[in-house]
Symmetry: C3
Subunit: 342 residues, 3 copies
């Protein structure tokens, strides 16, 4: 496939300084781009690569235009323009409607004739697969599940009975939606399981990464609102509510009954305690622990970055006594205050 | 289905102040309960909802009875009574005995006639599926595996050769039992794999959450005792032993050869090092790191909760120099001691 | 099966002090070994078990020979000799070549006649399964995938279109290779997905633990070099490059575009930020956070081990004010300096 710079300018809304008929075949990084490729500058650290790039053209912001010796597409948000270019060149893959003959589909389910049901899929009674949805190989869909229009389950996804996925969703392999929440109570020294009778409601345009899990509610439902993006290996506990357009990076765990607001961003490997609330527009940097509600938008952090092991050992030893160290300081201050007031 | 308050009083052992013939249909939170629903008060924070509840009756402790204007069921442990009520209303789902015709079951395996084997299940030679066990769609069971009575593998669970699961177990989708432990040794600059010849022994009444993994032992077996509950995305290393009635929350990792005692509780996202021992009745709060043995029952913690990013940056910079800061303090103390002894 | 001490001496290169015709059946720990078993001493903590062992012989280093009352095999690296002994006794399991009749294999794929394709496997067009490879039950392999010689996918593994796995690889159940990286960009308040058009290139002799995930590259490929070992539940982001013979323990996350050098070791539950670089021979201890590049080989750490909860609460409260505490100390120092210079 070939594209022209004029076409890219139109799609991205960028201002082209160059020949609109120049032909490109793909997008490449500044360092490796060749004469039939377009590149982009969206990260300050990559300015250094601008002077030697062999790209046909570069998408960049106005401030960097002067430094670029090849054709340019100038716009306010080069990363967004890059994304739009890629989306234009790589539209979502299509699939053939129909049900594979190895699929085990309940006669009491409703499968749209425009939907795709792949090899070895299992679909239970009462479930509905909407128009243009695609259920990839090995997926297991329980009873009374709804999968919305244009939603794709890539492969080996499991949806429990009664869960609902909206339209334009994308669930990667290994995702499990609607497993029992971790609801147990001590009964004479042993754990008694509490039936988890809520379900999971996932709205539209939600992407869930490989091997992520979203538990069903205990009483109230677990809710994932429109446009939420979950990376791989994310764990969402029972009864959690995640507000629209919130993004959660890989390996994050959110414990039960917590409410996360809209447009939040949670950095990778963070842990969010249960029964708390984060308001809209909260940003948590990676590897943080959130154990109390956050009532004000802003950036919050708690991870500790590495140091050399020898130094760390000493610092840790001090940390273990930080309260005593601080008390000693306060006593010292008092002694000095007293002695100077003598 | 309809239930009476008298019936609930009997099941829970709670003392009913109200009409035993009052009919209820389900359990709901205080805030949303309607006239045909029962509610419960098990969390101090929810006392505020008591005065406006429309529930038919509320399960609560004696101390809160006076604040409740609707019918009451008084007991010592309202959360346990709530669990019993739910279990009464929502008995475990039943399944149809028999082997689905798409399942690939070795002729040399033994499947109870009361067991259920779902679509696309694979079962190897020498394996035994006991009475009333249910193997859901897509599960892969190796050779010489034992699945005990009344145990359920929901879907897409993988059991390696030789692993044994006791009775009344519940394994959620994506669970992998018996994969090789991380046993490698350096051999002239490259890693040589050490065969993992132990197996995994899981006792009775064990629940394992979605996408959790329990590795087989290197030499000795990995052992999960009766009544242990593992949440989602928990990783149990090779040769680990977990004592009965211990509960481990989501995203926890336990490294190889570690022994965890009975009735322990490990908070979410914690990490437990290998080759250590935690005695019985240890509680680890969420996001903690345990790198040494714990020899005394009690509560242990190490996670650091978030602060505003700007403040965190300053604190982190100090933490990196905590040893030097402390030395400075000690020197200062010495100077003052010396000057005051002058 | 029976083996002789002479045979073990030859395989391991250890020096036998004993009868080369002594027969053994298996390897066991010092504490439990019986008269027809061989044991080994590779961990200082286990020296205590030497005096009472009933093993036929013990593999150990020269320094411990005098303490051993049974036959010995002396060598420099007893753990490596133990591994070689186990590998000799437990060769990798074999499988029957051929394609199971329940597998759904594209006619446009190429499956070696010496390869094994198990029950319910799905293989797409253009894919190639090389000689002696084994694709276990429930695996889903997309289009144009390459699985190299002697590589084993145990069960329920998912390989996306275009991914490539080298020879002698071992992928455990639940592994997902080639899912979309977490590439999103804000577009008028909503997330726009960025197509992930790179792939995943996994070289030879790579082992990937259960439920681990390796994302495809955004533009450039994600690369795992020869001999890399990943434990369970490891997450590798898009465009990451991991150098040969690096080992990464369980529950580690590596964010996008990061480059990890050769022969690194990353401890369990650690988090590595995106867009950074770790040079060769870096060791990161468990539960650490790495947010900046590491330019010098060595050991780095940042995890904080648990203390009693009551003490932790106090220390945490101080940590929140560590910058202020340090300022107070510096002021105090200044006051003392000034007063002593009076």
């Amino acid at each position: 496939m070939e594209y022209t710079l004029g076409e890219i300018a139109e799609i991205t809304g960028a201002e082209l300084d160059g020949d609109p008929d120049s032909k490109i075949r793909r997008v490449s990084p500044l360092q490796t781009a060749e004469a039939d490729e377009i590149s982009f500058l969206a990260n300050k650290r990559h300015v250094q690569y601008l002077k030697d790039t062999k790209a046909c053209a570069v998408i960049l912001s106005a401030e960097n235009k002067a430094r670029c010796h090849v054709q340019t597409l100038v716009c306010d948000d080069p990363y967004l323009a890059f994304a739009r270019t890629l989306r234009h060149m790589h539209p979502a893959s299509t699939f053939t409607p129909g049900i594979h003959n190895s699929a085990v589909v309940s006669e009491e389910s409703t499968i749209s004739t425009s939907a795709h049901v792949g090899a070895n899929v299992v679909i239970g009674a009462g479930s509905k697969i909407a128009d243009h949805a695609s259920i990839g190989p090995g997926c297991v869909i329980g009873k009374n599940v709804v999968v919305g229009e244009n939603t794709t389950l890539v492969a080996n996804v499991t949806l429990y009975d009664g869960t609902r996925i909206g339209s334009k969703g994308l669930l990667h392999p290994g995702v499990v939606i609607g497993a029992d929440g971790f609801g147990i109570v001590k009964d004479r020294g042993e754990w008694l399981k509490i039936p988890q009778i809520g379900t999971v409601l996932i709205a539209n345009d939600v992407e869930i990464g490989a091997n992520s899990t979203v538990d069903r509610g205990a009483l109230a439902d677990t809710v994932i609102e429109n446009g939420v993006k979950l990376d791989n290996q994310v764990q969402i506990g029972h009864g959690v509510k995640i507000g629209e357009h919130t993004a959660i990076a890989g390996c994050v765990g959110v414990a039960g009954s917590t409410v996360i607001g809209k447009r939040c961003m949670i950095g990778g490997h963070s842990a969010i305690s249960g029964h708390i609330e984060l308001v809209d527009d909260v940003i948590i940097t990676g590897m943080s622990g959130v154990s109390n509600s956050i009532k004000k938008a802003g950036i919050y952090s708690s991870g500790i970055p590495v140091t050399e092991n020898a130094k760390w050992r000493k610092n840790i030893a001090r940390f273990r006594n930080l309260d005593e160290i601080t008390r000693k300081l306060l006593q010292l201050e008092q002694r000095i205050d007293e002695s100077s007031s003598d």
